[in-house]
Amino acid sequence: MARVLIIGFGNPLRSDDGVGWIVADQLRDQIADPEIEILTCHQLNPELADRIADAQRVVFIDARVGERPGTLAVESLASIAYSPGGFSHQLDPAGLLACAWELYRHSPEAFVVTVTGEDFGFGSRLTPAVAALLPSLVAGVRSLVSTAEPQVGGEGVNGSAPEDECNGDVFGN
């Protein structure tokens, strides 16, 4: 059982949507801790719920659509309140946490790290605005998984975007 689970998700063939995969790949090169498991996937499917339930901490890395490309945001998913709506077989991070809680009665501490993308068209390269954030993204996720009590964001700890959005240090490190 991994103590920490890092999940980079999105479509690596859709330019900036692949940022989660690229960060995860770079983390794989840097982290040799057997208690940290790093996954990549296109979507968050329900079968990830048991791995989530086994972890003590989970970090999701994803791209998002927004007005300011290259904006980095870190959100703490403290609540498991979730409304599934028309759910079929893919979930968002909150849904996956809720699923883990409903099925296994364990929902770990979780963070969602997102970068606002610029281009989601076909392609396997990041735009410069997103690529420029890679070093701080990788370092930031490392701090989230290595700190006993991670400090997130400046103003918006545990809050939703945009309070903890910025282009620089939102990891509190």
């Binding site: 979507q43 079968e47 979730y82 599934p84 759910f87 079929s88 409903e102």
Partner: protein, 472 residues
Amino acid sequence: MQNIVIDPVTRIEGHARITIQLDEHGVVEDAHFHVTQFRGFEKLCEGRPFYEMPALMARICGICPVAHLIASAKACDAILAVRIPETAEKLRRIMNLAQFVQSHALSLFILSSPDFLLGMDSDPARRNLFGVAEHNPSIARDGIRLRKFGQEIIELLGGKRIHPAWVVPGGVSEPLSVERRDTILRDIPEARDIILRSILWFKRQLENFREEIRTFANFPSLFMALAKESGGLALYKGWLRVVNADGDIVADNLDPARYQEFIGEAVEPWSYLKSPYYKPLGYPAGMYRVGPLARLNMAKHCGTPLADQELAEFRELERRFVLSSFYYHYARLIECLFSVERIEELLHDPEILGKHVRAYAGPNNYEGVGVAEAPRGTLIHHYKIDETGLVTWANLLIATAHNNLAMNRGVLQVARHYIKGRVVPEGMLNRVEAVIRAFDPCLSCSTHALGQMRLQVQLLEADGRVISEVKR
């Protein structure tokens, strides 16, 4: 005349809409299942090298990429004119069987079990995996575990669970290691136990769904599937067989490569999904069904002990062939059981660790057809190439399309039974959706579109005005 529109149809793979037309007296006159998405893979593969086809065609679907890998690779085998190594064929079979387990588990446990556990008339906001988890978490856990079991085998064989590129023209790209074989074997008993208790649970549910069993696409039709000479369940290769509702063989030993001689493909202006039919009976009388129900109706035996026991009981459901499409769900569970048993047998075969897993050749034919049973039914890939090996033409005949005529007739049957007048309770519309879910259509596979899973039901006035609409 009024129309009821269900848009989007929920808990299916892809985008669809159902319209139900009422006459002046509020009686259901007609109904259609419209597939509103378009993929276009047949066209976009033109000009690509044929050996790229398996990896490209796997992109058709994130649920059943393996089915397309297998059928596509078989079409390429035919272009190479090679006989693939025995070990490669067995390894492909294991991956195909693992896909049956994960795909059937998704259909039954995640998409359809909310109807069984919470009821067709339950609160639609709870009719999902979360509602199931609240009502009966062990069923939800079993479903997730079973799907994961299949996905992990695919990942262990192919390197990744979605779009593995391990199945290639001429065989597979890499042999199976002892460690990976043993990892799969380790999980077999748990998967088998999950399926056995799920079958028991499902059989107990049947009594609560007698009306749905009686009305869910329950009519005589032809059935088509791959068949073995021995009469056993054929999932990877065989001849095509067509039987009627009485179980009489209508056509046998049909060469799948010559499918165009006996399967016609009709196109309707209200759907992107083609409507294949059995040519000798014409359109639409040549309606046939494929998939788990067709396969189990046709198979004399599955070929593994526990699945054969369950098949014997399945046969007792109706006096002759099992005609109600509600039983597709039941058939899926039996196929899961067969798949797990067969995977275990194949993994114990000493040849399975063989190192010779690929035959090499250049293109020796300008045309190739690949056929296999996908979870939803018979899947056909047909390519033509030029002298440089570039694809000039492709035709894909997908399992969901084979069932299109039957799904439309099923929607009409359910609508006629449950919809009385202009005020339609949500639970009645859910039954109209549920008959579609029984077939487990994969619309992303079968129309070649991007986006979320949606479903819509519309109730239309005699003049075409929408008087009721459900969208999700």
